[in-house]
Point group: C2
């Protein structure tokens, strides 16, 4: 295992100074008045030896890392992983790498992750924050580090946020149920006060209240295991036999809910109609195919990275703080169509 050549080794071999090599390598040959003759000689040698600068040393000196830290709730959730994927691709083109990790919506773990990212001098942060990390986010901003929050945010902080129209999404879903003749509409959501869930709940309540119907909300505790969720939803449905339609607040609640309906032998949509908040590649393959409020993954990703890069490159105009709300789209499939008469 021979150890890697440093810029000094290069300099020694070529009988020039490390300074000169550094200038050439950073494209400052002209600016620093290095003769194009020497420049070529250095470039040639570097190319031939395959010299790779040590970026750790570079980061130490410059304080920059060309790395963006990204914290999502769960990288194995298709919503987050597809966003991560698009962001990674775009960042890559701009010379940035993405370093992502799952928070599991756990404040403690997230604090530790932010600490690690700071230690590594990442240049910017993209976070779908769990509850209770306001202080850490504020501290990042105090130190003038670029932070973009997405999916949810903190009302108490003046950050740059990229979210979707959660209120409008669930409101439209309920309206769609009503138009198709459903009247006893339940909302199965998380017991969470995070903005995205809060807004979805408000959209539901507004639509229900506006039509003088009865609210019926099932709140699933956070971090419950999949099989427990199925059980909880089953019990909820058994307790409320009048329910003829259900809006599920998240992707995985919908999946668990479908399982619960299956266990109860309830047919979709003739017994109970279903809509999921957040679409899923597979919803169209279910039978019946599941209606969903689709979030614009591509647009979310592009907006997030655009905002972050604007901050990183000092384009203050584009980088203004505030909340960007992207539209959602109700994708109507079989699971919410009018019921056949029994």
């Amino acid at each position: 295992m021979k150890k890697k050549a440093s810029i000094h080794d290069i300099a020694r071999q070529l009988k020039v100074s490390a300074t000169t090599v550094s200038f050439v390598l950073n494209g400052k040959a002209e600016e620093k008045r290095i003769s194009s003759d020497l420049e070529k000689r250095i470039m040639k040698y570097v190319r031939e030896t395959g010299y790779q600068p040590n970026h750790v040393a570079k980061s130490l000196r410059t304080g920059k890392s060309k790395i963006i830290g990204m914290l999502v709730e769960d990288i194995s959730d298709p919503f987050f992983s597809s966003i991560a994927r698009v962001i990674e691709g775009n960042a890559y083109k701009l010379g940035y790498k993405i370093f992502y990790s799952s928070t599991e919506n756990d404040g403690e773990k997230t604090r530790a992750l932010i600490k690690v990212l700071r230690e590594r001098q990442v240049d910017g942060y993209i976070i779908a924050p769990p509850p209770g990390i306001e202080e850490e986010v504020k501290s990042l901003m105090n130190d003038n580090l670029p932070v973009i929050l997405f999916d949810r945010y903190f009302l108490s902080l003046e950050t740059t946020n990229v979210i979707v129209d959660n209120f409008g999404g669930s409101h439209a879903a309920i309206k769609h149920f009503l138009e198709n003749g459903y009247k006893n509409i339940a909302f199965v959501t998380l017991d969470s006060s995070q903005t995205q869930m809060h807004d979805r709940l408000k959209g539901y309540i507004k639509a229900i209240a506006g039509n003088k119907l009865k609210q019926c909300v099932c709140k699933i505790p956070y971090a419950m295991k999949q099989d427990k969720i199925v059980e909880a939803i089953r019990l909820f449905l058994e307790k409320h036999p009048e329910i003829d339609a259900v809006l599920f607040g998240t992707n995985y609640l919908a999946v668990s809910g479908l399982e619960a309906l299956h266990q109860l032998g309830l047919k979709i949509p003739s017994d109970v109609a279903v809509i999921g908040f957040d679409d899923n590649t597979h919803f169209s393959l279910f039978s019946p195919a599941i209606t969903a409020v689709a979030q614009p993954v591509q647009e979310i990703s592009e907006t997030v990275i655009k905002k972050l890069i604007a901050r990183l490159s000092g384009k203050e105009k584009l980088a203004e703080k505030g909340t960007i709300v992207l539209p959602v789209k109700l994708i109507v499939r079989e699971s919410s169509l009018p019921r056949r008469k029994k």
Copy 2:
């Protein structure tokens, strides 16, 4: 934005040397005979000021980063993302962070990613390699860097590999079809010579040949878009109306295949029975539920991280090279049950 305190600042404040502070911070106080009095004083001060060592500087000096680089084909594929998730969790407990990225099975992109990881001095590599990066992997090994390959590997390299019994998996799937009365069994796979696909194909061929049946293989080119795949499978099925059962070589081929069957109005399993290689959280919710060859995600993840940590901590015994083959499990659901008589 005040700049962060360095170890020298701490030392200056306490009127001791940076050396001493470093020793204390690294738990070497006793070994280096720092009086427990001074040790406490330093620890107290560090705690109170919230001093955070600069890990970039630390990495530069020690050559270690406590970061593991992980390259998967596609982080939004549930197979890879769930493995990433488990590995991340385990590594975290051992003081390592995971830095993962998607290769898109593209050699060029992967080479670039490996380069970045090397520049950042990651301590170890976990790679699901795309074709054609033998040289890079060899180079990592030459430099004595720990590398674990998983999901697929290179026959030409003596690496540590963690894979599943691909041959056995598809062999068992075909056997299951035969036992349920299917005779014209097709295999829809990728046009790839990577080991995992190769072995799955061999398992199919062996089972078919052993029973004197006719082979019928459909090879989908790599990197084809989802809708094109659906079309290709549809054409394949139309061209071979005799097919009464299909084994799909990967998760996403199965999903596309189901869509193709749907478009052709073919019923599962009465017209065509189906098995997917690689299970999916949603397969049990499809109707009919889809039979699948399930890979032991948890076990793969644990084996990978165990092997890597063994190498990192110098436990040579545990860290021996070679290929670990984990068993797969055929999860029988409705899509492969005996057909009702027409």
